[in-house]
Amino acid sequence: MLSLERRAVDSRLMQWGSPVLALLLTILTGLVLFWALGKDPLAALGFFFLVPLSDTHGWAELGLKMAPLLLCAAGLTVCYRTRIWNIGAEGQFVMGALWASVAALKLSDATGFWVLPVVLGAGIIAGALWAWLAAVLKTRFHCNEILTTIMLNYIALNLLLYAVHGPLRDPMGFGFPQSEMFTASALLPQLIDGTRLHIGLLFALFAAVAVGVLFTRTFIGFQLNVLGQDGRAAAFAGFGERRLIWLAFLIAGGLAGLAGASEVSGPIRQLIPQVSPGYGYTAIIVVFLGRMQAVGIILASALLALTFMGGEMLQIAMNMPKAITGLFQGLLLFYLLTCDAFIHYRLRLRRPLPSAAIGQEA
């Protein structure tokens, strides 16, 4: 009989082995799934994981999708390390995209280096304020942040839809729900010429490293960590709970807002209803897969960026539904959470209990 037994010390190996194992299990399940769909499993897997990265263009696209994921994930890392379960990166992302677009469209006649920072700043502030709503609800009214942030996501999405159908709709756009195209001064510079990759990726990498430094080197990061691990110790030490919760939400919202702003002023160049394919939600998986560490979330964001591309590739090449992306992401999270049990527990084979009277043979 197999049973789970608590480990005396958490396994360091499984801390990082768990994501790898989860990925392997996801791939394995993927193979079975493709086979069941009547497709050639190996070919499908190749299209999902390898073909998207077969040229420079592919790598650039990977970086392009990494940027928003990593920005959101870096912010969420601050929250999750503090045990604040902010599920609202999606809404904060959308608000960032919305208000960055407002700024970009208002400044469409302006030129100058200051336009872009204003556009990005508008996105950061909008995202931060959206997150701050949840922070206030939590600290003032003890509302569970999981619920409030999810609900705020829907409100943000509806505000976006209202904007693109109403005030921000391009009058020359044949009635399509989308804004005018941004002018050049509101666009992010390209990172590699001839591709869509923009400097948003640098923001993201910087944010990931900064969050890493925050938690390993600074006193405020230490306080966030203590609050996350043990609220009563934080209160005992005199670390202001409200201040820290607000800070975590503001950082997370600001970074998600920046991600949204970078999307509209980067590859999309206008505001559209489908500004996010669910980056804010996928970023949650990134944080857990990346073990809430800088290097980890960078690698994990690349992997999850690939699932977006792989899903599209399968859609094109093998005529499979786009839901494959979500399926793979879901499987990955599911297996990860399962495998994480082995950080604290180990499997033990046990002989069946009753008959063997203990000690009688001794």
Partner: protein, 518 residues
């Protein structure tokens, strides 16, 4: 002999990862015997209890119950064969009545007939001198009464062996006497009792036999009434540990902490409101506050530490008002606090000793412009570990991996090395081994001699009498007068712990008086 014993344990071995909790333990309890099980924390007493109660299965060895080798499958099986256990932390539902709580542990057939059950509870409780109203809600009961519920529960199940885990640690001296009368009566009727305690004097008073454990092994057994307390202590700790500290007389200085009419209505339905607490602490003295847990000790500690803020003017230290200040500011003003909960308040369980040093010692130059000075923090942690003989694998060990005594030495060290002007320590030696307790007492005395005021909140009366220059008691959130220890007899203190003391403006309430007398 073996056939007449109620319980016999033969060569019990239980191996946990990295620790042999029981290493060939033999123990025999005769029918009607009150048997003491002694040992420091980590000696293996709890594991042995769990083996008897069926919570864990031994790796080797046999449990012989009434002469028959038995494998105890689990607590339910243990109850069925007649083993009852009263845990140190009660397993009662506060929102249910006494009868309902007892019904929960009975077979459905007996539990359904409420009236019959209530009658039985009344009968059993009066017979053993433990007055209990089956219809009262547990939330309204005192700690002593809750313990009676647990004991009555075992008696109704007709336990032939009653295991009591440190039962007296939550009682006033008077309540202890009542409990002992009950236990003696039970023993006379043939019920065996396994009595776990740290308090050697009690064991001498009550128990017929004692078995002493150390490091998972039985290190001795004796008839407690025939040997001295020091002899028993020696068996518990081994030959090389000092058994106690001798406090030298103090030279109190100026008033350092003054508390004026400190009142805190509680928000917690099961908490205690502080009621017009008045006290003064002088530099260079240790003042003790006795009292049964749950009478406002935690609230008082929070009010002093700043976790709960007070109105302006209630609290001042060195003449400076700190009522409104938070924990960080108070620490800056020289207040150090050792809370009752070591893990999960005094220290973060999953963090290393290094990080736990930073937790409260950040004001000692360990942080510069928001950046943690890692080298300094490590140095400070290493200093604490060395000065206070904290036994851990390294300063990178997590707080949770330390034994209670070592973690407490670490926490006391962390606070004491910050050279506080006021040290507030709550139950500093609770559940701590004798060796560490001595070290902790010495640290407190050293602080006092350096001119700090020390407030010691404790349930351990021996400790209070040993260390304190003045003391009083806390009951239902009210503080008795604080008088020199030499002038305060144990009887008087017991009455104060039960709330019988004069208070300007308020007379002690009737219920509390009957409590003490009961």
């Amino acid at each position: 002999m073996a056939s007449t014993a109620r319980l016999e344990l033969v060569n019990i071995v239980k191996q946990y990862p990295g620790c042999r909790a029981n290493d060939g333990v033999h123990l025999t309890v005769a029918a009607g015997e009150i048997h003491a099980l002694l040992g420091e924390n980590g000696a293996g007493k709890s594991t042995l209890m769990k083996v008897i109660y069926g919570v864990v299965q031994p790796d080797e060895g046999t449990v012989i119950w009434n002469g028959k080798p038995t494998q105890v499958q689990g607590p339910r099986h243990a109850r069925d064969i007649g083993v009852g256990m009263v845990f140190q932390h009660f397993s009662l539902f506060e929102t249910l009545t006494v009868a309902e709580n007892i019904a929960l542990s009975l077979p459905a057939s007996e539990a359904r007939n409420t009236r019959k059950l209530e009658a039985r509870i009344r009968e059993v409780s009066t017979r053993y001198g433990m007055a209990l109203d089956p219809r009262r809600h547990v939330s309204n009961l005192s700690i002593g009464e809750r313990q009676r519920v647990e004991i009555v529960r075992c008696l109704i199940q007709q336990s032939a062996l009653l295991i009591l885990d440190e039962p007296t640690s939550v009682l006033t001296p008077q309540e202890v006497q009542v409990l002992f009368r009950t236990l003696r009566q039970l023993s006379a009727e043939g019920c065996s009792i396994l009595f776990i305690s740290h308090k050697l004097q009690e064991i001498r008073d009550l128990c017929h036999k004692a078995t002493v454990m150390r490091g998972g092994k039985v290190t001795g057994s004796c008839v407690p009434s025939e040997v001295s307390v020091d002899d028993i202590a020696r068996m518990m700790v081994g030959s090389d540990t000092p058994l106690s500290t001798q406090a030298t007389p103090s030279q109190p200085g100026d008033v350092l902490l003054s508390v004026r009419k400190l009142s805190h209505p509680t928000r917690d339905p099961f908490g205690t409101s502080l009621d017009a607490i008045d006290m003064e602490l002088r530099a260079g003295e240790i003042v003790g506050i006795a009292g049964v847990a749950g009478n406002g000790q935690d609230e008082l500690l929070r009010a002093l530490s700043g976790e709960r803020r007070s109105e302006a003017g209630c609290l001042s230290i060195g003449g400076k008002d700190i009522g409104q200040a938070g924990p960080a500011q108070r620490r800056q003003a020289g207040v150090a606090v050792v809370p009752e909960e070591r893990l999960g308040r005094g220290a973060v369980p999953g963090m290393s000793l290094v990080s736990n040093t930073l937790l409260t010692a950040y004001g000692r130059g360990l942080v510069k412009r928001g950046w943690v000075r890692s080298a300094k923090v490590r140095e400070y942690a290493a200093h604490i570990r060395e000065r206070f003989d904290v036994r851990s694998a390294s300063i990178d060990s997590t707080a949770a991996s330390l034994s209670g005594g070592n973690l407490q030495k670490f926490i006391i060290g962390r606070e004491a090395l910050q050279q506080p002007r006021l040290m507030v320590a709550s139950h500093p030696t609770w559940g701590v081994d004798v060796g560490s307790a001595v070290a902790i007492h010495e640290a407190l005395i050293r602080l006092r001699d350096q001119g700090a005021a020390v407030l010691l909140i404790s349930e351990d009366l021996d400790e209070l009498y040993q260390l304190c220059d003045r003391m009083g008691a806390l009951c239902s959130g009210r503080l008795s007068p604080l008088v020199p220890t030499s002038e305060l007899g144990i009887e008087q203190l017991g009455q104060w712990m039960a709330g019988e003391f004069p208070q300007p403006g308020t007379a002690p309430s009737a219920t509390e008086v009957t409590h003490a007398v009961a």
